[in-house]
Each structure stands twice: as C-alpha cells, then as structure tokens.
Symmetry: C2
Subunit: 503 residues, 2 copies
C-alpha cells in the first residue's frame, strides 16, 4: 500500500503486527518511562518532539516516546516520516525539525500503527481530533456531532493499558467529556480487564500551540492549564507536564475539575471568536461612515482594559476558532441534560459570533460589488489561500467562501499563495510565484492573507504583478495608505476592509 | 426659588440677568483666556477643576473658568456650590475638593446660569448629556431618541460666541454628530450673525473619566482621543487639551475625523458591554456544569491576548455601558441614511449584548428561586444599591431589576448600602449601617456590589448582621470560598454567580 505526504514523499507500507510488537517491546527495554502519543497531527507532532527531548536534572533523557497513527493511505506517511527522523507537519519552525533529528539520533522516539504500544505506556497522551460539523455556513446552531469514533479510539487505549498509567487528554472536547464520558469508559473497560482502576489516572490539559515559527516553543515555553478527575490524577498530570514544560517561567494552572479545564479551552477560543465577530459589526458601520477602523482601534488599545480589541479582517479560519464554541454548545444543550435546568440551553451569542465570522468574507464580496456590480466573466485574483499569515494550512480558510461566492456569479478565479501550491479543498493548483501572475490578466485582485511577501510589496510591484487590474481590495490591512494613494494615482480603485476612509 | 443638592444643602436663588452679566464681564477682566464649560454634571465638574488649575511653564494660571448650568430647582445647587468653592458631584476623590478649594482661593473659577458667559469664551467645552431612552429593558432595539434638546442647548452657544472660539464637544454622541449635525448648525447660526465661521473651531474629544478615588486624576493623567472638523480645529483642540492634560506621560491620539473620535468612544464602551454579556452566557453554562468561572478566567488571563476577558457579575449599570451602543446604532441606522447601503442597518450583536446585560440580574433571581421557589412574603435583603463598588451613583443600578422582580413576586425587600441613604429610583430609604440590619429578620440576602465594607466581612460578621438568614447569594464575587464554607457549616445555603462549584 502507498501513502503520500503533503511534503511530496511517497511511502510503501505493509502491516506485520507481530514483528511490530517485537520491535516496540525492544524499543522500551531501558530504564526510561514510556510515553505513547495517540495521534500525530498538529498537536501530537509537537508533543512528541517536546517529550522526546525532555531531560532530568543530570541531562538524561526522561522518556521513550511512541507516536501512534493509523495504517491507512491518509495517515501512514506520518509514521514513516517519524521513523526517518522527520516531523509529520509542514512548518516554518526549524526548531521542530532539529528536535526530530536529535530524537532520531538519540533513539528514543519512534512511531507505529500498532495499538500494542499502549500496553507499554506509563503515560498515554490523547491528541486525536473530535470533530463537529456544521451542516452549512451561517447556521452554527445546526451541526452533526457524535462521540462514537472518539470513544472507539479511546477504547483501543483502555483495552490495553496496564495499572499505574496516566491518560492525559489534550483533545479539545465538550466540557464534561473527561468526567462524564471517558471516566466511566475507563472504569468499565478497566474493571472488565481486572485492572485496579484506582491506579489509572485520568487528566485533561490543553495546549496553546500556535502554527508558525514558534510552533514547538509554544508547547514547552508557554502557560498550561490542567486538571484531573481526582487528586492523584492531578498530581500525575502536574508531574508529567512539569517534566517537559518550562514551568519556572510559565507556571502551570491547576483547575478544580477536568470540566473546568475543558471549559477553559473552548472559552478561550470563543472569546477570540466573539471579539472578531464584534469587530466585524463595527467595521461594516465604519466602512459606511468613512472611518479608518485601524486608527480607531489603535486609539482604543492604549487602554489596558481594552488591549484585546480585535482588528478588522477578512475572516476567521483554521481548526479551532471556527468550531470550539459548537463543542461547548453541544455540552450545554446535551451533556448536562440530566439536569433539567440546562437541557436544551444554547450558547446563542457565541454561536451567532461563529455565524458572523463564517460569513465575513461575503462582506469583501460586497465591497467588490460596490464597484463591479456584475462579476460574470471577470478575472478575479485571490492573493492568499491559507487561513493564517505565513502558514500553509488551508483548513476552513476564509478565501474559500470568497471563492465560492465569486465563482457562483460567474467570475474566473485566479489564485496565488507563496506557501500553497495546491488547494486541497477546491482541488485547484495555486500560483506560488508572483512572476506567474504577470502572464495573466486581472480585472480585480484581493489581498486576503497577511503573508510577509504581500506586506513587502510596493505599488510598483503590485501593478507589475497584476496587469490590467482596475480594482484592488485589501481585506486584511496589507496595503498602507501611502501605497494605496500611489495605486489610486495610477487609476486603480482601492477598497479595504476597515478602511472606510479610502472610499 | 429653592434648589436642594444631594449633599443635603439647600440654596435660595433668584435671577438677575443684568447683574450676572456685569459680574461675569468683571470676572474675565485679566490677561487669561476664558473657558466656559456647559454642563456641571459628572464630566463638567471634573473638567472645571482640571482647567481652572492648569498653569503655564512659569506657574501662572492659564484660564478663567465659568461653569454654566440651568437656573432651576434640579440644577441651581451646582452653580451655588461652585460659587462657594465646592464641587457639584458626590465623590470619594479628595483631590477634587482640594482643586475646588484652590481655584476658589485663586479666584479664577466661577459658575453661572447666564448664557452670556459664551460671549466671553475663547473655548466652550460642551459637557451636557444627550439621552437615549430604551422603551423597556430587554429590547434595546426599540428606543426614543431626538437631537432637539441637545441642538437647542448648542444653539444657545452658537448664538453668543465670537470669532476665534474653539467649541470642544465632550458629550457622547452618535458617530457623525459633530460633522453632520453640529457643524451645519454653527455655520448657519454663525453666518446669520455675520461671524467669520472659518475662525470658529469645532472639535470632538472624549474623556475617560472614572468615578471613585481617581476621578479628577482620570481627566488630567490619562490618554485622550480627539479630532476636529478641519486642520485648524484639530490644532486648536490639541493645544487646549495639552494645556491641562499630562501629555508627556499620556500622549494625545489624534484621529482623522470627528466621526472617528465619536465612534471610538461608543466602540470602547460597547466592547466592554459585549464582553460582559459574553461572559454572562458562559457563566450560566458554568453554573450548571459546576464550574468555578473565576478560576477559569484567571487561568485564561495569563495569556496577554486574553487579558480583557471579563469576570462574572451581577449586572451592568451606570450611564455609559448601558446606552452607548444605542447611540451608535441610531447613527448606523439613521444618520447616514442618505447612503442607501447604510440605511436601516443595525448593530444587532451590540444591541443583543445590551439586552443580555440589562437582564443579567434576573439570573440571580433564578439562582434564588432554585432554593426558594415561592418568594411571596419572604424578607430579602439587598446589600448594595449603587451601580459600582465604593461609588454612590445609583443610575441604572442592576439592583433595580432584582428589586423589581422579587417585589413583583411578593417579597418584602430590605435595603443596605454604605454609601446610599436614599434610593431615588425606588423612592426608598436605605440602611447605611450594618448595625441597623441586626434589628430585622432576613430569609435571604444577596451581596450585590463589591463595596469594600462587604469584602471585609467575615462569616461571623455576616451571620450576626443577618439574623435568620438561610440563603445567601454572592452575586459579585464578594465572599471567599473559605467564608462560604464557614457559612455553609452554620446551615446557610450558599449560591453565587459564577460559583458553580458551590452548588
């Protein structure tokens, strides 16, 4: 079988369960404790690097680390890359690659498809996803959610662990999950296997890992929140987290319950999402009132109590801010349903914020249509496909809705992103070089992502890259007032989200 | 005629317009410039103190200051107090009293009912209110608003000023007011009087004055935002503001238009209101999930990007946060109506936040009713009547809705506040001494305001102050977990907003 990675490398693989068990058993034949990380995605990849490089006060490596992922076409390449000493996430963080190289040389990091790994674990870190799917954009109240697959994956762990194991849940889950769903699962399966479940420690801790250059650093050098289902679990989590996080500079925060820790995570992201949505409402107002909203928020941010007010922008993407409020809403309306007071309550305001954010790119389409009422046959170039500046991740990128809305009206969409050569969600090739745009004709162009390459462009660069362009929209504060003025002098109509003073 | 102040002093007064004009003309017979402050309310009172005490580099007083208010029973006492060297606002800020004493001794601060003052002005500072009234709590979309009275008051100024006058608007107004409403007014009236309107400078600047001990200081030692309708107006405003604000430590922020400055003010307050409402939604969730929301927000606030997340609370009161979003909404839906894109648009999210905040105290009633389903005949004691800790102001206090809801269900309401002896809005006397509560019987008590006196109470104090009490609700994080535990041991049922872990 073959698995192809987003790095472009291809791996042939076959499954030999017995041989793999023997290899893993040999791998842990030493005095170190063994940490098994379930899921080599965005968090698991960085966690594996952080934990594999953790050392005691004498400089001795603390752990054997085994990453586990699935033996299928979509996932096997992650295992294969780790076995070669390579990270399984595309990142601009060179320290991540270095950490994988070091761990590979030290021989204390491996990866496997075999759930036998859990048998060997002193600690299991759960870094698999728990998805919740909106049925359509703009109606966040209506989603599909089930624990089934997540519980299946956790059951794989519960069926194999031994006594005295710490299970650390890092997945973003509906508040109450560890206490109400996973604890009963571990107790039931554990008792069925004759384990002393009082020695199975169950804890929740959420990372605050960020993509980009500080990816690995945001695991080891940042504040962590955690809790456990009982005092022993809290203690086990505290000791484990302290062994690879710089807790001198970033002390741990222990909360009173895993439900509190789970709520803290989704609340953090909902706070951001809400404040982005709030600013969108005012940005639309400012647009029509001819106000430069970027100046206004700068005036407001001088107040310490107002520093977190958000800037106007194109939209919200990525995996967390777009859905974490839904997980909370599911919990609020469902997980505490035995309590009559809570059943069927909804997080109306937070869901409404998600809707506003999901629909944000349509405001940029509106701006465009103020100047170009009929998009049919127009060549519209999107500069920026990923969901975040200087990151290649295109999951839930705002450019997607903009693309869909313009295409629906008959526009011909042209694409550029310095970091994305192929847009999976739209199954389209993307120009990565500005030079390639020179050969096309452009009626309108939209700067959608604050990639460094775009921020560095002068009016001359922009004009030479976009032959024929008559309308440019700056959807994310990429073009300065001075550059906009220079472009305007050359006959280009300039519009910008939050830049009411341009109209 | 008689005017009675909230300090308890009573003033007899009569109107002699000619004598007053002569007095004012004599008052400004010196080399200083003259600043007239229209409105001796919460902002005008502090502004008068700040401007009257402003000095040049050589220590010479810069201005004659004349405060103007109305010669009626409700307002004359303000004028009378200033004439005696006393501030016209009840405040715990001793520096305000000192500033009035000093200015009185220096002889450069007076007050009058006479609009003749505007004739003498080099600068007119407009500190009168512009009200917007909700027709009912919980439906902020529906309000009464008119410029009529405000325009009348401004016309009084426009009809009397001379050339070379700066008009500084400090009133919180719908964005666009200075540019679209006041500028045409000054031009029309000015031209009718043969003024050179190019020498009439019109600017907007908003203060960030706070009640409490830093009241005066928050005028002179804090950041200011301003703009003018043209460059000369911006410059005039900048020079005037710099003459009494410590701009070395708190540089001024100049915005590009008065509309931007006006928007900045209402956006600031709407940002706070939105974040309070957002937290209310999550507090209700946390309550049912048994989570201590105060611990959670403390865990979240370690992130610099999340420092402004609000704490749970009883409600939102005062004059600004409860209504500023409505002024913005009026502007959005009305003031730019010539622009078809804007007409009838609403700030839905911000209005919804105001509704949530206005109804917040009903959540505390719900908490009470979980334990006391029938309030009829129950004696319920509210500890805290003002809208803010250690402040006597009761305008739009959250205690009001709590009071109304409980009374409607037949409860007997008992009242305490260390700073409020008479509750104007409810026309009721209030106990100011804890000792007076000892003579009453209490079925339930609610701690509603974070007054220092309440924060200092131990379990013993609380029990001895509230004979018979069986339920205590901490609506504003006033009682510690330890005190709550001590009270619980004494048989009191403890509930608290944001304190899900207590239930």
């Amino acid at each position: 079988m073959t698995s192809r990675s987003p790095f472009g490398d291809t791996f042939e693989y076959s499954i030999n369960a017995t041989a793999e068990q023997e290899r893993l058993a040999a791998f842990v034949q030493n005095d170190r404790k063994t940490v098994v990380i379930q899921g080599l995605g965005f968090v698991g990849t960085a966690m594996a690097a952080a934990v594999a490089n953790a050392k005691d006060a004498h400089g001795n490596l603390l752990y054997n680390v085994i990453g586990v992922d699935l033996p299928d076409e979509a996932n096997y390449w992650k295992i294969a890359r780790v076995l070669q000493g390579l990270a399984s996430v595309v990142s601009t963080d060179t320290s991540l690659d270095a950490a994988y190289t070091t761990a590979h040389a030290n021989g204390n990091l491996t990866a496997t498809f075999s759930p036998f790994a859990y048998t060997l674990a002193d600690v299991v870190v759960v870094d698999i996803h728990l998805d919740i799917k909106k049925k359509q954009l703009g109606n966040a109240r209506d989603y599909d959610f089930t624990f089934d697959r997540y519980k299946e994956a956790i059951t794989t762990v519960a069926e194999r662990i031994t006594n005295n194991t710490l299970i650390l849940i890092e997945t973003t889950v509906p508040p109450g999950t560890t206490e109400k769903v996973l604890k009963p699962l571990f107790e039931r399966v554990g008792r069925g296997r004759g384990l002393d479940t009082s020695t199975i420690h169950l804890a929740h801790s959420y990372e605050r890992v960020m993509p980009g250059k500080e990816y690995l650093n945001s695991i080891t050098n940042f504040y962590r929140v955690y809790s456990g289902v009982d005092d022993a679990s809290k203690q086990a989590a505290r000791e484990f987290l302290s062994s690879f996080i710089n807790t001198n500079d970033f002390p741990l925060t222990e909360l009173h319950s895993t439900t509190a820790s789970e709520m803290s995570k989704v609340l953090e992201n909902s706070f951001r999402a809400m404040n982005i949505a709030f600013m969108q409402e005012w940005t639309e107002f400012a647009q029509d009132a001819g106000v430069n909203m970027f100046d206004v928020i700068q005036a407001i941010r001088v107040r310490p109590t107002h520093r977190n007010i958000m800037a106007p922008g194109f939209g919200v993407g990525g995996y967390c801010l777009t859905k974490d409020s839904l997980l909370a809403d599911w919990s609020y309306s469902t997980l505490f349903e035995s309590d009559k007071r809570t059943a069927h309550k909804r997080l109306e305001m937070s869901l409404s914020a998600i809707n506003t954010n999901d629909m944000m790119p349509s405001f940029t389409v509106d701006l465009l249509k103020r100047e170009m009422s009929d998009l049919h046959g127009k060549r519209i170039t999107i500069l920026g496909i990923s969901y975040l500046n200087d990151v290649a991740d295109t999951r839930y990128s705002p450019s997607e809705l903009f693309y869909d809305l313009c295409e629906k009206e008959g526009a011909t969409m042209q694409l550029h992103d310095p970091l994305v050569s192929y847009w999976v969600e739209k199954a389209r090739d993307v120009h990565t070089s500005i030079d390639e745009l020179r050969g096309l004709t452009h009626d309108a162009a939209i700067f959608a992502v604050r990639h460094s390459d775009y921020l560095a462009m002068t009016a001359e660069h922009i004009l030479s890259a976009l032959p024929g362009v008559s309308i440019i929209i700056d959807a994310f504060n990429i073009i300065t007032d001075a550059t906009a003025e220079a472009l305007r002098e050359r006959g280009v109509k300039m519009l910008g989200v939050g830049k009411g003073h341009w109209s």
